[in-house]
Amino acid sequence: MDIPIIGMTVLWIFLYGYLIVASIDFGAGFFAFYAKFTKRDDIVNNLISRYLSPVWEVTNVFFVFFFVGIVGFFPQTAYYFGTALLIPGSIALILLAIRGSFYAFGNYGSKDSMVYTFLYGATGLFIPASLSTVLTISEGGFLEERNNTVVFLAQELFTSFYSWSVVFLAIVSVLFISAAFLTYYSARANDQPAIKLLRRFALIWAPPTILASLLVFISLQRHNPRHFENMLGIWWMFGLSLLFFLIATYLIYTKKNYGTAFILVMLQFFFAFFGYGASHLPYILEPFVTISSAYTNETMGMALVIAFIAGLLLLVPSLILLMRLFLFDADYVKGNR
């Protein structure tokens, strides 16, 4: 394997990590708001906050890692996306900022503020929606090079069926992933009312997830036939994804093994996400940027890979420690610590 592919794979793994942990976080925000709104917050909100409090900053770093990494490995992307996406990028940033800081304000400062909870819940849906449009834009057709600058065709994006199906998929996946995880987490805490509520959420959001995926498939065929053909070439990855989804939903439905179910959900998204990514190549941004055109120089590429390996040696043990203390420690999850 050559370095650009390794670099892209590494970044994609981190983006996948962000997809999972951020979905849990975003969805939890929405559920917390919904529960509060329907006066059921005593059931789930302590549970949610027990999970989120120690990890939200880590979630954010996954995201920072991805965009710093992609500018590092593929500096040309900074030029194209940076020039074109000032407005949508800034809006996503403002939403992220509101969410992150209001989480801290609400959680450590004034508890029980409806405004904070509302902003927290609403941004949890808007952020995935706005971030997912970057993937849409990378399919091509929404940027144009005109007299030495890159122009973003916002109108095209807002009227594109493909674009909206991706937004839809992003939102429902967030809710599905989050509900599946929180069901597992409440099962660890052996908290019956919470299990009941969250399991229902998971089952409600399962069918829309698969429906949205189908929509994206169909609309991609029209929007970008090249990518669609590539996807068909690795159809088995999407097939596996569907299979994992079905087993996971079945397990949740029959109230068995919520832990395994959540791992299967992670696998479902793993295969779909990597299938999508692999068939996207060689383009990063169609038709302007490919992984070879954007690749930084050889020396820097090597240096980054070395830094990455050294960094992982540091990170993996620490992440395991974090998970052991807050995810797998039954006493903590139950709120006894």
Binding site: S53, P54, E57, V58, N60, V61, F63, V64, F65, F67, V68, G69, V71, G72, P75, Q76, A78, Y79, Y80, G82, T83, L85, L86, I87, G89, S90, I91, L93, I94, L96, A97, I98, G100, S101, Y103, A104, F105, Y108, G109, S110, N148, T149, T296, N297, T299, M300, A303, L304, A307, F308, G311, L314, L315, S318, L319, L321, L322, L325, F326, R337
Partner: protein
Amino acid sequence: MAELDGVLLSRMLTTLTLAFHIIFATLGVGVPVMISLAEFIGIKRNDQHYNLLARRWARGFVVTVAVGVVTGTIIGLQLSLLWPSFMEVAGQLISLPLFMEVFAFFFEAIFLGIYLYTWDRFKKPIYHWLLSIPIFGGSILSSMFITVVNAFMNTPQGFTLEGRTLTGIDPVAAFFNPAAPTKIFHVATSAIMTSTIVLAAITAFMILKGRRGEYHKKALKLTMVTGLIFSFLTALDGDISAKFLAEYQPEKLAAGEWHFETEKGADLILFGTLNEQGEIKNAIRIPKMLSFLAYSDFNAEVTGLNETPEDERPPLIIHYFFDTMVTIGSYTLFISLVFVVLMIWKKGDPFKAWLLWPIVIAGPLAIIAIEAGWFYAEMGRQPWILRGYMKVAEAATTSNYVWLMLIFFFLLYGVLGTLTIIVLRKIFKNNPAEAELEFRFKS
């Protein structure tokens, strides 16, 4: 003209974000050091006051760190949004430290999460203290890496530019550029200094409001002693920074000191104004001091600003930023020295209003010093974004909507800043230290 406006607006937005971020970033580097120190003393002396101090500081820190994280995320992405051409070029050279910065954050974020929620989970308290090492270690490392990036913008090296392509790229040389060492030390010590002074100012304020218990007195002693040490170190490596400038970026030093003609035995000019003819009025002149500051030799020759081509000179206003920074640095050094002397001297009582009020004022002043230092360093780099290679005007985005984003972010920071203060006040007001001492350690 429209193009120039885009550049100006991009600069304003960058300045706005960084000026806001740096407040929280500075506290993010310094406060964990103090938390760790307090917890350590608490364990060693088995003194609950220090333990509580660490806990309460940590509780406030969670709020400021959150704002630091979100504004940092903003600036990280905004660099690509506002300076796409710069990032395309510089990305090939400096992505290594940027990448490492994220790793350092990652490390810090993980342990911060663990630290905050495991106060009572370990049998031996020292294990909990150990968790604080990766926290302040991570934030100091990440400030180091980002400072390397900034240093690179001032003294770029490790590549050759042929036309518009870069060759002979050497990330290691780019990393260890000449500006890096002095900048790293000055940024780190000034951050710790500022944090101690801010914590001291808050404590002094509480004492003035009548909280005269042991807890607050211990807190003030601890912060003022560390404040003295780090004020001294900051002045020391600030002086070394000036020597660095004299050697590698003489135009920044010259503009900052209003030193126009190259000469031996140059005077140091403090404050003052410039009249229409460009003559210096109302200034305090310290004979030959600039030569000493720049080369540790009263008769050394200091390069003047007139050696630099006219269109490559930094703006002269940076003189005031430099003066502000140095004046405030001397002020905190003096105040903390007085406090520590009175503290050690048996008959002295440092907890008097005439000394506490100046300490309260020193808090906001220290933040102003940080801002002034950065404005000095950043505007002193003008007109370059990569000194000697790329000018700011060539690097900005071509988008026409920067003004709108400027308004949005201005509002955002206004809201975040206000809420931070409100929330912090609320946390501590509803839960005074005395009550918490009772409740937590009533054995």
